[in-house]
Every structure is written in C-alpha cells, then in structure tokens.
C-alpha cells in the first residue's frame, strides 16, 4: 500500500543520485542524535570525585596471624587476611580439578608474602559480603545465596561463578600495602 | 469460573508442602514468649505511666551507650506518648547541653525543640569497649522481630501482630545467663544471652533488680515492683513508642476509615445490584 509521499515514489525505481541527499540527511541526523545522547548518558558514569578515590594505603602490622581486617577501597570492602600455615597448606593441597574457577593459590598471593590474602570482599555472585572463617571449606561463606569459598578465596560451591577478586596491590614495605 | 475456594485450597496446599522446611528454620535461640502489651492489637493504646517509667529506664540505663537521634524532647509531651507536661520537658531539656556553633562557646542548654543529644561518648570509644557501636534506639523496636514458625505467620496478617520488636527486646533483657549453660563457648568480653543470635552478646547485662528507682506513683496509681522483669517491660514499651510514636492515633484513624469503607461498600453493593437487576 504505497503512500503518495515523494520518498516512496523514488524508492521504487533504482536509487538515483537525487536520493543521496535523503540518505545523507538521515545519516547526519542520526549522528547528531547520537552526539547529543551520549553526553547525556555519560553524566551517569562515575564522576570525578568517585574516580579520585582510586588507591588506599593500609598498615598491616597489627593484623595477627589467623585474623583479618576489612578496609574500604573505591567504596567496596576489601579483606586483608593474615593466613595461618595450616590454611595455606589446605589451599595448596586442593587439586585443580576440584575447582570451579581453577586458579592456583600461588597466583592469588604475592611471592614472599604468601600469608597475606587480599581480596575484594564481595561475593562474585551478586555482591554480598561473605562471612569469614566459615563454610565447608574453612574460608568464606556468603549468607545471601550460599556460595562457599576456600582458604584461598576460591569458589567451591554455590551459585557464584568466580573466585573472590584479588585487587591490584603492592607491598610498600613488609607492614604496609597499597591497594589500587 | 474460578472459585475462591480453589485458590485458597491451592495456597494452603502450597504452604503446607513447604511447611516441614520451616519447622527446622533453625532458630537455635530460646523461644520468645509474646507478651501482652497494652498497645498490641487494633484496640491497643500506650500506658502513659509505663512510657514514663520506660523513659526513665532509657535515660538512666540505656542512654549512656545508645543514642536516639530521632527523639526530640518535645515528643515527650505529645499526646499518645509519655505525655510529660510542658514544664517537665523544659526542665528535662535544660539538664542537657547541645552543640550550637552560632552561640558563644559552641554549646548551650537544650530546648524542647532540640533532639536527644546522644551518648556523650565517641563512636570509637564505644567500639573499643563493646566491639561494635551500640545501635541507635530511634527505631530499634521496628528493626527487631520474632520469627513466627510456618504456617502460623499467616495468622499474623489477620491479627496484625506488630509487637515482635518489644517482644524480642523484653526477651533479650531477660535472656542473660551467668554462668553460661554447659557447652556454650563465650569469648572473652562477651556475655551469654539465650535470645541473641549466636548467644554471645557484647552488651553486659544492663538491668538488675532495684537499679532504677521509680518515682512514687501519682494518686490512684499502682506502685510497680523494681525488678528486671518490670524494667524490661517498661523500656520495651517505651522503645515501641519511640519507633512509631503515632501508632495509636493511626489505629484510631483506621477505625474511622474502616467504618466508612464498610458503610460505603454496603451502599455500593446496593447501587450495583439495583443497576444490574435491570439486566438479568
């Protein structure tokens, strides 16, 4: 049911050079709309004050073996756990085949600082904070949907798909780290 | 046509299937007895004398560590609450100092329009002493509750049970056991409480018999015993008022509204039937 618009008429035969101006008009208009829309949407992205909070320094000298502290980095909690020898051994004894998201314990800590486990304290399922020293694997247990992590913070059971995330961090000295 | 009974049957069946699950829903905590509060149920009202006593317990015992940032002194004279007189509230407020950067020295005596000034201790000190900052009491009675086992919680929707908070607080205050029962491991600096989740609570038993001396009852009033049981009831009632200070007025409005709705429903039923009788 063709209407009587001039555009419809000219579409029927082969496209001619005169059509170019219509195509160009639509294309340039679309660019204009996108150019206006993106800055508007982009205002919703994290602003400068949020981005400024990118790194945190933490003094870890006061964390006794077998205990953990929670610090805040970029608005999210981060666990710093001083692991016992038994926990490290337990983590390293796990065969890779048992892991849902295989990763060796060695790859989750820094060499020479194996006792320090630094992880973003948000369950990789839907972002709740897991509870330490609990669950079937002596690591962390997420109270929201029942995900269980081992002493290396690796996912072992439950709906979470990934291991707890290790943020970028560096040892400034033996007693201080910088996260971010 | 769908019959209402079918739906109800389906609902009951559904909940029934799931019921065994709950029986276990693991509240290892002691069973919490529901108390008969003067303010429970649709007809409930606060007992002014009890609220005044509860306020005294709050002020003399709790307020040292627990803030109540939403409480204003003026609230204490409101109808439906403790109903202190204007003079009493003014005098009470004057006993406290509040920060006010616009006056010389930065502090002044509180006025009835001011809010409760807090504990006078820093959060850090409180955290060092108890392991956590003791929670603010403004809405604590709404923030605590008692789980009702399945399927009985369905009844709560019909009885309007909303007193889980005071029931819990009352049970908590009476739930301390010293020494702890056999097998309970309580870390250093914690106390055994049969009601608290996990049983190890940071708050030392706050009440003891005779700890608060109530004023002589007004003429015609009844003297109450100075016991933990009595204190805990009074302070729970006070906290319930504090959490929802206009609940009595709201219930009274509710009766007027329900009465209106019932009348209106009756009339509309007549209107509808009269109209439709032409069609049948």
């Amino acid at each position: 049911m063709a209407t009587d618009s001039p555009l419809a008429h000219q579409d029927m035969p082969k496209a001619t050079r005169r059509d170019f101006i219509y195509v160009a008009g639509v294309a340039v208009g679309a660019v204009g709309v996108a150019g206006v829309a993106w800055p508007v949407i982009n205002t919703m992205n994290p602003d400068q004050s949020v981005l400024a909070l990118s790194s945190t320094e933490v003094d870890i000298s006061g964390i006794a073996e077998g205990s953990a502290v929670t610090v805040v980095w970029r608005g999210s909690p981060v666990f710093i756990r001083h692991r016992t020898q038994a926990e490290i051994e337990e983590a390293r004894a796990v065969p890779m085949a048992d892991l849902k998201d295989p990763q060796a314990d060695q790859d989750r800590v820094q060499e020479g600082h194996e006792q320090w486990l630094v992880m973003i304290a948000l369950c990789t399922h839907l972002g709740c904070i897991p509870v330490g020293e609990s669950g079937e694997y002596d690591g962390w247990f997420c109270p929201c949907h029942g995900s269980q992590y081992d002493t290396s913070g690796r996912i072992r059971k439950g709906p979470a798909p990934k291991n707890l995330v290790v943020p970028p961090y560096t040892f400034l000295s033996d007693t201080a780290i910088q996260i971010g | 046509m769908i019959k209402l009974s079918t739906i109800i049957a389906a609902a009951v069946l559904g909940l029934g299937l799931a019921a065994p699950a709950i029986a276990q829903e693991g509240h290892e905590s002691a069973t919490i007895q529901r108390q008969s509060w003067s303010f429970s149920g649709p007809f409930g009202k606060f007992d002014e004398n009890q609220l005044q006593r509860g306020f005294q317990v709050f002020r003399e015992v709790c307020a040292g560590c627990h803030s109540a940032r939403l409480l204003a002194f003026r609230n204490l004279e409101e109808e439906g609450g403790p109903s202190f007189t204007e003079g009493q509230v003014k005098a009470l407020a004057a006993e406290y100092t509040v920060n006010d950067p616009t006056v010389e020295g930065g502090t002044r005596k509180a006025l009835p329009s001011d809010r409760w000034p807090g504990t006078g201790q820093s959060d850090a000190d409180l955290k060092a002493a108890f392991g956590i900052v003791p929670p603010d009491f403004s809405v604590i009675a709404k923030a605590r509750s008692v789980a009702t086992p399945t399927p009985w919680w369905i009844l709560n929707y019909f009885t309007g049970y909303s007193e889980g908070g005071p029931d819990y607080i009352h049970a908590l205050l009476n739930g301390y056991q010293d020494p702890p029962p056999e097998g309970a491991e309580i870390p250093e600096g914690k106390y055994y409480n049969a009601v608290f989740p996990g049983h190890a609570i940071g708050m030392p038993p706050p009440l003891s018999d005779g700890a608060v001396t109530y004023a002589e009852p007004a003429e015609g009033g009844v003297a109450v015993p100075l016991t933990v049981e009595q204190y805990s009831e009074d302070v729970s009632a006070f906290l319930m008022w504090l959490a929802d200070p206009h609940q009595v007025a709201r219930k009274e409005a509710g009766f007027r509204v329900l009465l209106f709705i019932l009348l209106f429903a009756g009339i509309m039923y007549g209107v509808k039937n009269r109209l439709w009788s032409r069609i049948h």
Binding site: C128, I129, P143, C144 | G160, S162, R250, L262, L275
Partner: protein
Amino acid sequence: MAGHESSYNPTNVVEKWLDDRLPIIRWSKVHLMDYPTPKNLNYWWTFGAILVIMLVSQIVTGIVLAMHFTPQVNLAFDSVQLIRRDVNGGSIIQPLHAVGASMFFFALYIHIFRGLYFGSYKAPREVLWILGVIIFLLSMATAFMGYVLPWGQMSYWAAAVITNIFAAIPIVGDPILQLLRGGFAVDNPTLNRFFTLHYLLPFIIAAVVALHIWALHVPGNNNPIGVEVKSERDTVAFHPYYTMKDFFAFVVFCIPFAWFAFFAPDILGHPDNFIQANPLVTPPHIVPEWYFLPFYAILRAIDFNFILDSKLLGVIAFGGSILILFFVPWLDTSKVRSGTFRPAFKWFYWLFVLNFLILMYFGAQTPDTPVGPWTVADVSKLNVVYYFAYFIVILPLLGRFERPRPLPSSISEAVLTEPIAVSGADPAMPTAR
C-alpha cells in the same frame, strides 16, 4: 478506537462550541461511558479498574512524600522516619504508599493470572497483552527503585544485588554496572538517580496504561466464556453498569488495604530495613519484597555451570521468566480461549499457580533450608523447570491434544443457561458490533 455511534448531543452553546473544536466530551462519552462491555464479566475482571485507581493513589501519595524526602545517603533514612514523626498525617501517608505498593502488586498478579486462565492474550488481543507485560516490567522497576529510597539495610543490599545482575552480561557488564550505579559501589549517585527514576516511571506507566486501554477498546473485552460478542444483546454500557461494579469492588479491596496501612503498616516489609544502610555489613538473609520472591527464587535456583557460568544462567532464567510472557499469545496453540472449557488445561494451570506460590515461599527461605530429604536449592530447580515447561511445552502441546468442551454459541446463551454468570468489569471500554 472503536467506531460505534456516539449518542452525544451537545445541549448548549458552550458544549457545541467545544465539540466543534475539541470533541473531548464526545470522546469521553464514547469511550468511558457507552463503551459496550460483555455482560458476563465476573469479579476477576474488576482488578483492571482497581489497578488504575491504585496507580493514581500511588502517584498522589508519592508526590506528597517526595516533598519531604531527601535523596542523600546520610539523610534519606532519617527523612523517611521523620515523615512518620513530624509531617502532618505522615504516619498515615507513608504506610499508605508502602502498603499501596504491595496492594498494587497483589491486584496486578490477580489481573495477570486472570488473563492467563481466560486466554485474554489470544488473538486479536496480543498487543493488549504485550502492553500489559510492559506495564508489569515498568511496575517492577518502579517498585524496586522505590524500595531503595528509605536507605535501610534491605534497600541498600537489594540495590547492590539487583544492579549486580547486569554485571553478568559478558564484556559490557562492568561498564553497564558502573553506568547504572554511578560509581564502583552503590552510593549517593545511585540513590539520587533511583529517586529521579522512581518519580518519572509512574507517569510512563500511566501513559502505557492509556495505550493498554486503547488496545482493549479496539477488539473489546474478552469474557469468562471466551466467545466474542455477537450482538448488542451480549453487552451492556460500561457506565453505569461496570463503573459501579468496579467501584464496589475497589471499595471492598480497600478493606485489606486499610487494615494493613493503619493497623500493621510494617508487617509486609522487613525489620532489617529499619537499620540504616551499611555498605560494610550484609544482612544475614537478604530477601526482596514478597512480590519479587518467585523471580528471586528462580534467579537463585541456578547454582551450577552449564556451558555458561551459573551467574549468567541465573540471570537469563530470571529475565526469561518474565520475558517469556511476551510470547504467550503464540505459545498457546489452543483455539479455545477460556480455561473454563479446557478440562486438561485447568489442571496444568492450577499446578502453575501452586508452583508460583511455592516459588514465592522458597524465595524467602535460605537455599540450605531442608525440604524433606532435600533442600530449597534442590527442589526449587524442579519448580523452575515447571515454570518454563508450562509456557514452552504444555501450552503449545495442549492445544493439539486436548479436547475442549463444547462452547456456548453466544454470551447471551451462556448467561441464560448458567444463571450465576453475570458480573464484573474491566476499566476499559470495548467495542460492540
């Protein structure tokens, strides 16, 4: 809209003048009053009108509350509590809005399940149904963002968990998550934008409701026997017959509404939401409001990897459980509309309702809660299977194998043989032949 005759005759000069320029009175008469409606609608059909009134009620109470609310993380919690303490009538308005959301969803579920039983989604009402699903989605988004505003513990963690769903999208998940939250975690920018959108969306819902009613008036109402209107004898005018019947139903609907709002305003909520949001403490047991529980149970039931990882699968199941409603008009192959005349369908339908209620119940339990020898996590997988099987397997196959009972030839015949059948109405206005 429908092209039936207008009985409107402007009686005075002003009306005539207006009618020539903007025939709004004529339009209202045609669509809001004379609209011919099947005369056998039952009370399940009154929930459409109830929903319209509830939407207006939510908008009105919401606007008043917005005048007293502060969308700032340090002040939001207190500002909601202070509404209940200091604002005139605030201790009633705030519960009316919070309980109103629950009542809205209660009515919405009945409205949806009524459509599913009586085949209201079938041709020629597919667009009507699709617009309804869009309203359902928008309502869920609005309710979710509204729940975040009091900034209690459940508010905060609901926002954290639900926005995190978007992180499951491969590759672009994280940028989208940051775009939604306005930061790396749920924080002040999140609260602020949720407030803005919570204020905006109800008006968009109202616009879609207008389209929904328009789409209703083109083919006209479905009815409990599912046989189309054949003659004027089958219909009555929307006003006063259904306006008054709907209004009666609404007044009755107000009884539980008032009961909860005045006598137990917080019983439908969660005590943890009276604790101010704390990003460093997760509540021991996060649960959404009751009306999201079935879908939450579906999200949670997928805790295993299968080609894709469990999180993405869970999110696909969660989204799919709602989006599948869009396809129901084409999944159901039966030629008979009303479930009343489909003996086998009835069984599967009520099993579906039961299954939905069980999912709702499971959504409130922790995954390791025992159910007989199994746990909620195990059994809810079966519930999820049935939920999807109903749409993907049962509806398409049933239409081929089921032998429906004979249909009455017209609404009038059904009414005469089945004396109970008359009643009910939808807010809309259909067309007559």
